[in-house]
Symmetry: C2
Subunit: 151 residues, 2 copies
DNA sequence: AGATATTAAGACCCTATTGTCTTATAATAA
DNA sequence: TTATTATAAGACAATAGGGTCTTAATATCT
């Protein structure tokens, strides 16, 4: 199998999108996020910690604690999140893996693949959390609950 | 990190492209393919066996044996090879991993990502081995030897 | 027939990602 | 101050992809 974004990154994006649909002031429990989004609870914990270190979410320990989204995170793009979670150059390198492939020494598909890559990157850079969270809200349950199916 | 094609698949494509540059009648040693393309020898062995089972390459054991490309393989597309090595639906699924995301129940980025996917697939389906092997031949050494660098 | 050269096949190991569990630590509320 | 409820953190396990190594099988040449 092959993925554009790692599972960690997918989880991160989904968690951030979800937090963006929730009121800013009330911390959301990690456990609730995990349950609603169908993400392994403790694994989500690690991802949220990582996001907290980058000041994307804010964590509050103790009673009535939980996670809230930092205000500016609404403007984050999927690309930025991918950079943070999957690493700076998460889409670099030759499609077919030639070690020396580059603009000056291109493999047979270098040029066209480069265009594809640029489109993917532009797509990820165009998508901001605040655009997505609105669309997400009404569909959350249908999208996350694996028991649901439609004709 | 994230890749479109697994390393196995990249190796497979590179090996097939290379075999396509060689005369049909003379078997090429696995060891030579591995060396020229900078692929771990025994790992390449496994991949070639897999390709042999799908009648993409032909293997000849014993003295003066080796691998040759089956004639019809010249027309193979990168997409077809990816399907064989990485699995039928190597590009399926929601970008952000919603379990239930589909055309009738789309996530916030489903539509646009679908377009991206279709472009990638079209690109991979457009690229046939015989187109690529010609372009590859003169550049083989520069592309594969990690010692080489250009200004 | 016997020596040799090659792929075939499978056991095995390494590493990174993903996922689980347990124990701190911190904050609140009584 | 104590009980409670939450995250923090790190040890640990499971899995899959990637890679190595050894032995078997098979073909050729002398």
């Amino acid at each position: 199998m092959s993925l554009l974004l790692t599972k960690s990154c997918q989880y991160a994006i989904r968690a951030i999108m979800f937090l963006a649909t929730q009121p800013e002031n009330i911390p959301v429990l990690q456990r609730d996020i995990a349950e609603i989004l169908n993400i392994p609870n403790h694994f989500l914990g690690k991802i949220l910690q990582q996001l907290a270190k980058h000041d994307i979410v804010h964590s509050q320990r103790g009673k009535s604690g939980g996670f809230t989204l930092c205000h500016h995170a609404e403007e984050l793009t999927l690309y930025k999140i991918a950079e943070i979670v999957d690493g700076e150059k998460f889409l670099d390198g030759c499609v077919v893996g030639f070690p020396n492939c580059s603009d000056v020494n291109p493999c047979p598909v270098h040029k066209e693949w480069k265009q594809m890559k640029e489109m993917i990157i532009a797509f990820l850079q165009r998508k901001q959390i605040h655009q997505l969270s609105g669309k997400l809200e009404p569909k959350l349950e249908d999208l996350s609950n694996p028991g649901e199916h439609d004709a």
